[in-house]
Symmetry: C2
Subunit: 558 residues, 2 copies
């Protein structure tokens, strides 16, 4: 069987200007990166944003992820191909760009799979157009400027032990989670504890994904909270005057990247916050642009509906020019059996009881999405080991709840693997006026916002706050920042904060460990359980299999 990278490398890409012409863009609207990637330039972005018509927005979310795989990106891409190539409707896909670090850890890129991939997959998974690298440079330049400010005089009296900004690299490096810097000679700066997070976890990534233009980008950078002075006053980036330089480093990265699927559907791949520790959606500028340029826009939210889905509905969609017109919940028979069994050992065998039990996970995800008031459909990614009885049972279980369910196989068959499903999605998106019902109100207090998400979305019975979390919230109240939206950092594997509790747990306590202000992004990150913002590498990292030949052809990415 061919690997994803083999299929992707055998695909013949059209010139990116040909792809652009599908949505009315010309070569002069593009800044090419090689022959098959481009950024849109600012005149083109501004012109497109001024057009009055907006397409239909279709959000793809999923069950809680398992090692069995649910294939959300594959679904998003395959569905986009089907709508574009089979239904002949003007379509764009808006996806996050992958973080590079995890590519060298566990096998698995973030560009879809099989016949449903965005290409060139190896570029997108590695350096792409440099957006992640620009972010890393911006994060570390800002941190260096701050530490240098302290070293060179520190007029505002910034407390080195209360710097909130982390450094960043786009590498899975557990050794950098907690470090001490500024050691050795007195010329090496002020010694203090510090920390590196993976690039995508930094507030600057969130800002890049929320900014509507460079001016907004710069203003948001200026609003970032650096830390506190010894006199207990908050110090913002604009107090130190670094926002212009950091915006200059990120200005190019703010332009969306255009690529294509294997079947030549245009895709904007731009911005990549994780959904467990951040807001988990591609850039607002890319999704808005796609809405202006095409009639149907497919986008996805990271991890399950409790993470990316909830954050998209309650936060991201407020930054878009329109709310989602329909929502797709992705599931697989195998993953639902895993939800019941907690092991991959017997997934190849038919197991209707396990499927019925595991369905409870899907049920909660699909009903949560339905409660937002957006039309929902469940799409099931077909695997060769699925039995007919399993597929029928699963569809019936979904339909019993008044929600349509279809089986698709975009992975093996490309767009022909789900034409009827694509029609159903299009029909759903054309249902009509949608009134999105948010989980919480904008002026709810922070604890009320957390409680509403915990109860309505996670189905927790109660929320407990650590002493640190209480202090953090008191500080937010003191600063008058406690009414911002909440981005809850939680394990992706469970509705609870314990990654081992699969299915659809009830009657549990959500443990809030802390709350931190992301003032430039405009939200409060609420941490629960044990969530890390810097992954580690496994014992056998994927790096051991990655190679390149003398023609520059890369192998070993999956």
């Amino acid at each position: 069987m061919k690997t994803d990278i083999q299929i992707a490398q055998e695909a013949v890409a059209l010139p990116i200007s040909t792809i652009a012409s599908q949505v009315g863009l010309s070569a002069t609207d593009l800044e090419p990166y090689g022959v098959d990637k481009a950024k849109l330039n600012w005149p083109a972005i501004k012109k497109a944003m001024a057009s009055p018509d907006l397409g239909k927005l279709i959000l793809v979310t999923s069950i809680s992820p398992t090692p069995a795989g649910e294939g959300k990106s594959t679904m998003t891409i395959g569905l986009g191909d089907a709508i574009n190539q089979r239904l002949h409707l003007k379509t764009m896909i808006a996806l996050r760009e992958p973080s590079m670090g995890p590519v060298f850890g566990l096998k698995g890129g973030a560009t879809g799979g099989g016949q449903a991939q965005v290409i060139p997959m190896e570029d997108i998974n590695l350096h792409f157009t440099g957006d992640m690298h620009a972010l890393t440079a911006a994060i570390d330049t800002l941190a260096a400027l701050v530490d240098n400010y302290i070293y060179q005089g520190n007029e505002v009296g910034l407390d080195p032990d209360r710097i909130l900004l982390k450094r960043g690299i786009d590498v899975n490096d557990r050794s950098l989670r907690q470090v001490t810097i500024g050691q050795g000679s007195k010329f090496n700066g002020i010694e203090h504890k510090s920390s590196f997070a993976i690039t995508v976890a930094n507030e600057l990534m969130a800002i890049l994904c929320l900014a509507t233009d460079i001016a907004d980008l710069k203003q948001r950078i200026g609003l970032m909270l650096v830390g506190y002075s010894r006199a207990e006053q908050p110090v913002y980036v604009k107090d130190l005057g670094f926002e212009g330089a950091i915006a200059a480093l990120l200005a190019n990265a703010l332009k969306p990247n255009l690529v294509q699927t294997i079947e030549h559907t245009p895709a904007l791949v731009h911005g990549g916050p994780f959904a467990n520790i951040a807001h988990g959606a591609n850039s607002v500028i890319a999704t808005n642009l796609a809405l202006h340029l095409s009639d149907y826009v497919l986008t996805e939210a990271g991890f399950g509906s409790d993470l990316g889905g909830q954050k998209f509905m309650d936060f991201v969609s407020n930054h878009l020019e329109k709310k989602p017109d329909a929502s797709v919940v992705v599931a697989t028979v195998r993953a639902l059996k895993y939800q019941a069994e907690g092991t991959t050992d017997r997934l190849n065998e038919e197991n209707l009881p396990a499927l019925r039990e595991g369905f409870k996970n899907l049920e909660r995800h699909m009903l949560n999405m339905k409660n937002y008031g957006v039309p929902v459909i469940v799409l099931i990614n077909h695997f060769a080991t699925d039995t007919q009885a399993e597929l029928e049972l699963l569809q019936n279980l979904v339909r019993d709840q008044g929600i349509d369910a279809r089986v698709v196989d975009y992975h093996e068959q490309g767009s022909s693997g789900g034409v009827e499903a694509a029609k159903a999605v299009v029909n759903l998106a054309n249902t009509g006026h949608v009134e999105l019902q948010s989980t919480y109100q904008a002026d709810d207090a922070v604890k009320s916002k957390i409680a509403k998400v915990a109860k309505k979305i996670y189905h927790a019975s109660q929320v407990e706050y650590s002493e640190q979390a209480e202090q953090d919230i008191d500080e937010l109240v003191k600063m008058g920042k406690d009414k911002l939206p909440v981005i809850i950092a939680k394990t992706q594997y469970s509705f609870t904060d314990n990654q081992k509790l699969l299915g659809a747990p009830t009657d549990f306590t959500l443990h809030v460990k802390g709350a931190s202000l992301k003032n430039g992004a405009g939200f409060i990150v609420v941490t629960t359980g044990h969530v890390l913002d810097m992954p580690g590498l496994p014992k056998q990292p994927a790096a051991l299999d990655i190679d390149v030949d003398n023609d520059g052809k890369i192998s070993g990415l999956f």
Copy 2:
């Protein structure tokens, strides 16, 4: 007066394919990055390298740098423009790409000045085509893989306290010179001391600049010394199996970048090791490529002839398809007066005695270069404050030593600011067969190599070795690696290892502090005096002036 960035931004770039056509390349040979930058693709590189003819190679070096500025890049670019646009000879310029970190520190990019610049200057000084970022990612991925190897079992028994690889970022961050990593939880890796160097100082940069193709790149990465095992055995990257993944990260960066000067001369800007702590020349692949594609190639070596010049002659040129045909030593009246006075206070006043005294610095540089057996010319960058008497005195002092001297003003006038000088350089390069006389022999012992450079080039009377240096050299002997070329890390401001000793000091001692094997690059770095591989930021960093407007136009770079 217009700033460099204003002049550069007002320049109208030709499409990069038009530039490429000057040297027989077509659009299909290029991977565009925007409209005005491109990488050559591998088929084009391989085809060009197979052509039999080689152009003339002209090396530009200079006096010891001072705060008064000597303008070496401006000279290289202006001379290239003059040979190309005024003498109508097929010309290419090969330059290093700037490190981004220093751009945010002290004002001053590395793309020339005035009318003699490579463009787009703001791109080249910031992210460019991502080569520096790819290097940073490769450096930090390798370091993370090594620490993870120890954490996950450490079969070879690598000693965490004897890891020689540093992490890297392309930021001036003094706080990262000495750090402790792996702190906190036991899941955060093994606690040990570590260090970050600026990206350009890493061995991977040297390897990128020396590799002839991807296979060579990968082999060199495999040869890098990671550290020592607890059993005192050297551990190389290939022992751990990481060379394929790291080569995959760098494969794209190995392709040279094509840009243009303001006057549309093609320039390959590729690779950027510093010349004080590394070998200080652009990539071998770019210079060789330029030699195949054009009749005259201008390249420069970093800092003064004692640093980049010596390293180019004794090391880099052995990796090129030919030795330099001529060498240009750049000087300015102002800088030579500074060499005598040690202050910028009175540089605007005519001062013939100071010039005569400061000339001793130029004299040593030009005679050192002449001793290599390569024809030498001195070119003087004209400043508005230079008096006629000063310019005449300086030219006469040079000519008294049997070396031609000319005054040029490429900065203000572009290529018309030195047509006769360009003719003189071309004539010099056509003198005929050059037999380069190296400073040392390949099989000299390491201390003998150091002594020969110290005495012949720096004019030291003796060399002293610290205890650490003695140990390091013993280890090199034990490993059988003591016959490799030496790259001496030394302050750029003085022939000595004390940056305050200007002019042409004699009767001094060179203090060798250490020697480290760069086994992938194939050289030994010998450290002298106080040389840092991670710069710091100044009290008023240039970042405070850098900004970007809502159209993406960057300001405040100089």
